[in-house]
């Protein structure tokens, strides 16, 4: 440490070692110049501590949260989708494909006279087609139309919000 001031500031801040602290305390007690400077810096330190903080405008918090809300609403759909939904869709497709494969394998007639690899003689999937009856297909198409209209409505709403801004 160099100057008296530097030593005294370290002493006031408590940023020096215990030995240094003790040595400076002794200097303050014994040396008039140190004592005078110490009291001067102590007063200055108190003044710095009583420094006032500036106050932002009354609407500051509201403005911050409003900006966050607006930015959140403008987030692209790709980023806004919950990852759990994606995971759910993935699980649904994996389970569907796996059960379809298992069903297909269990329906295969493996009993052939020949030992060489051949295409299965009979693949019994006739009763699967019974699921795709008229009402099911119509229901599926109706759901698609509703979903399409919903997406179109969301897209137009977002476009209108952007236009107003």
């Amino acid at each position: 440490m160099n100057s008296i001031e530097e030593k005294l500031w370290s002493y006031i801040d408590g940023s020096c070692t215990a030995e240094e602290q003790q040595a400076i305390a002794m200097l303050i007690a014994q040396d008039e110049a140190y004592m005078r400077k110490y009291h001067e810096l102590l007063k200055l330190n108190e003044e710095f501590t009583s420094m006032e903080l500036d106050e932002p405008s009354m609407a500051f918090t509201y403005n911050v949260l409003e900006t966050i809300r607006t930015q959140h609403a403008q987030q692209p759909l790709k980023a806004a989708i919950n990852k759990r939904i994606i995971l759910g869709i993935a699980i649904f497709f994996i389970v569907t494909i796996a059960s379809l494969v298992m069903f297909a394998l269990s329906s295969v007639n493996w009993h052939t006279a020949d030992t060489s690899i051949k295409i299965p003689k009979q693949l019994d999937i006739t009763h699967v087609t019974s699921f795709f009856t008229g009402p099911v297909i119509r229901g599926f198409l109706f759901f698609d139309v509703v979903m399409g209209l919903f997406l179109l409505d969301t897209y137009l709403r977002r476009k209108s919000v952007l236009k107003h801004e």
Partner: protein, 193 residues
């Protein structure tokens, strides 16, 4: 009324989707963040823009806050980076006749004037005026040390420098502030005579 929950508890609630918890966090830190921004911008409008930008950035990266340091330290490092970017954008010319006086605080005056507390108000006025005349780095270190409840190590983390360097910078900043205070007061006394 501000929440009595800790910063970490408020962060947990914010991450859980409770936006009013973040409002409490903003209310708790807004005065200090705004004051720090004022050290760089000087004008209230620019400072408010910087401060708002900081809270929005903090909200966006709240999930990446590691909790190894205090939230305030993490937030102040965002303020420092944002304010430095602002300064670079504005291309503030820091050269003047005596090198530092370009940072004269115009709008940072005490808001209320209490006749019963004239002495303390005028002291605070002169202190604010002197801080406004310091370079942003000096003013930031002094503000963080005295009002931000930040240790030398935490200030070092915010500024991205060594703690010892902060100690030296703080010493020099205090000296410069003391000189400015003395000069301003001397000038004032001369004007009165």
């Amino acid at each position: 009324m501000q929440s009595k929950l800790s910063d970490i508890e408020l962060i947990e609630q914010t991450l859980g989707g409770n936006q009013s918890a973040y409002a409490d966090l903003v209310k708790r830190h807004q005065r200090f963040v705004f004051t720090l921004a004022m050290r760089f911008a000087k004008g209230r409008e620019d400072a408010e823009e910087i401060a708002q930008d900081c809270f929005i950035k903090a909200y966006r990266s709240l999930a990446s806050f590691q909790r190894q340091s205090k939230f305030s330290t993490w937030l102040y490092s965002i303020v420092y980076t944002t304010a430095m970017t602002f300064l670079r954008k504005k291309r503030v010319d820091t050269t003047s006749i005596d090198g530092e006086d370009v940072f004269i605080q115009i709008e940072n005056k005490p808001s209320a004037y209490d006749e019963n507390n004239v002495e303390s108000k005028s002291r605070s006025y002169y202190l604010n005026q002197a801080i406004g005349q310091l370079l942003p780095d000096d003013a930031t270190i002094i503000t963080m040390f005295y009002k931000g409840e930040q240790s030398l190590e935490e200030i070092a983390q915010v500024l991205g420098i060594e703690a010892n360097t902060v100690k030296v910078k703080l010493f020099r900043a205090r000296q410069r502030l003391k000189e400015k205070l003395e000069r301003n007061l001397k000038h004032e006394v001369k004007e009165l005579i």
